[in-house]
Symmetry: C2
Subunit: 255 residues, 2 copies
């Protein structure tokens, strides 16, 4: 990809993992919500995704957008996710379409399906439980943040159908650096390592697809999200597995 790739939410945790892994692989244009503490290594803008003028500027000459920006708090209040996550996604996508962007990669979330867990906990998190969500299921959010992420997925579907842009909604699990959450079955079941996160977004920027909803986790023994679509359609090849860690120590490695 020769043209710039716009990354919104560049100051967040997912953005950090992507930039760590793919810094030199794309001509990044970054959108920060507030002025970054350190001078970024890439072209950047500062502001809000609900700012239509700024989004027009951000999308100028861009081939693809990785859209991570928004209020990331699972307990974020409704007014904030309505404005920042739902409305903000619409404003950005409009600007992207106007600029001729042909690919939208969207950070959806495990919270879009968070209430699936309510009745099945804790079996769901065990390695011998074979229940899987595969991305074809209707959203079942566990909070307003999840409602907003589900709405963002639906917006993506609309922009794909209406304008032909490729859209990949990634329901991101539990991203932690270095090692999986300790003594936390749920976090281990939905763990996404930093390198798998970067690789998955790389695949979402490279593969051919129309519109997809995929789960973004490592290849954990414990899991209740299917990785089939991510593997089959995107060519995702996760390298990590929360079962390979004993606390902070890696005790096995398939590399």
């Amino acid at each position: 990809m020769d043209e710039p790739v716009l990354l919104t939410g560049a100051g967040g945790r997912v953005g950090g993992a992507i930039l760590d892994g793919l810094a030199d692989d794309y001509d990044w244009r970054l959108l920060f919500h507030s002025e970054p503490a350190e001078e970024p290594a890439h072209e950047y803008l500062v502001g809000d995704v609900v700012d239509a003028d700024l989004m027009r500027e951000a999308c100028q000459g861009v081939d693809a957008v990785v859209h991570l920006a928004g209020d990331p708090r699972p307990d974020a209040p409704w007014d904030s996710v309505l404005e920042n996550n739902i409305h903000g996604t619409k404003v950005l996508y409009d600007a992207a379409i106007d600029a001729g962007v042909d690919r939208l990669v969207y950070a959806s979330s495990n919270h879009a399906v968070g209430h699936f867990e309510t009745e099945r906990r804790p079996d769901l998190y065990r390695a011998d439980d074979d229940f899987r969500l595969d991305g074809t299921e209707l959203p079942q959010p566990g909070n307003f943040y999840g409602v907003s992420k589900a709405a963002g997925e639906t917006l993506g579907r609309f922009y794909h159908d209406e304008y032909g842009v490729s859209v990949c909604n990634i329901r991101i699990g539990n991203l932690t650096e270095g090692h999986p959450p300790i003594d936390y079955e749920r976090g281990q079941a939905m763990w996404l390592s930093h390198r798998d996160c970067a690789h998955l977004h790389d695949r979402a920027l490279q593969a051919e697809y129309d519109r997809e909803i995929v789960y973004g986790i490592s290849d954990n023994d414990r899991k209740y999200y299917s990785l089939e679509r991510a593997k089959d359609v995107l060519g995702y090849e996760p390298r990590d597995n929360s079962a390979h860690f004993d606390g902070e120590e890696r005790v096995a490695d398939d590399d």
Copy 2:
């Protein structure tokens, strides 16, 4: 049901069909967006679903809510559906939960899945085509109005999961009075007669369920929406069929 039933959007077309058919069957409390031209036969309020204070008043002592209010225009601009349809539904549902309402019946729309038609038209509208949407499919809206209706469905799912309230999302087809649309295959495929509309909402107020997404059409020969869930779960027994009309004339009747 002895307690009042709140009907929002009472001045709209769906509201009219429901009140025509079920005027004496419930102790209605009506919400109009603007002062009605004629004095209603039922208790009523005038105002906006985004008005939290008014919604608290509207939900006081209510057992069930039939939520039809919102911007009904398929081509409504984003800002209006974001505010009136998405945010308004959240404000109303909060008030309903606070008031102890145990049932929410929501006017979703065929537009929540409007883009399913794009590639299959016009076979989809033919009586011999057996493709069916059944309510388990992900939303595929054809416009921002449809995006807002899909978001309303997701909100309903959240309130069910979070608070245990029964939620029935009805993807309403093409409601016309007297006879189906003429020379319009699509309209005939998704026709909902006034009496079937009233009956379907009656069933949604009476049947036992957790949360449902059903299609709201008559039992048309032409159709691409399944009526199975509505029949099986709600006990919906549609009496009309667009195939029984030759223009404005009823030429067959199974009654």
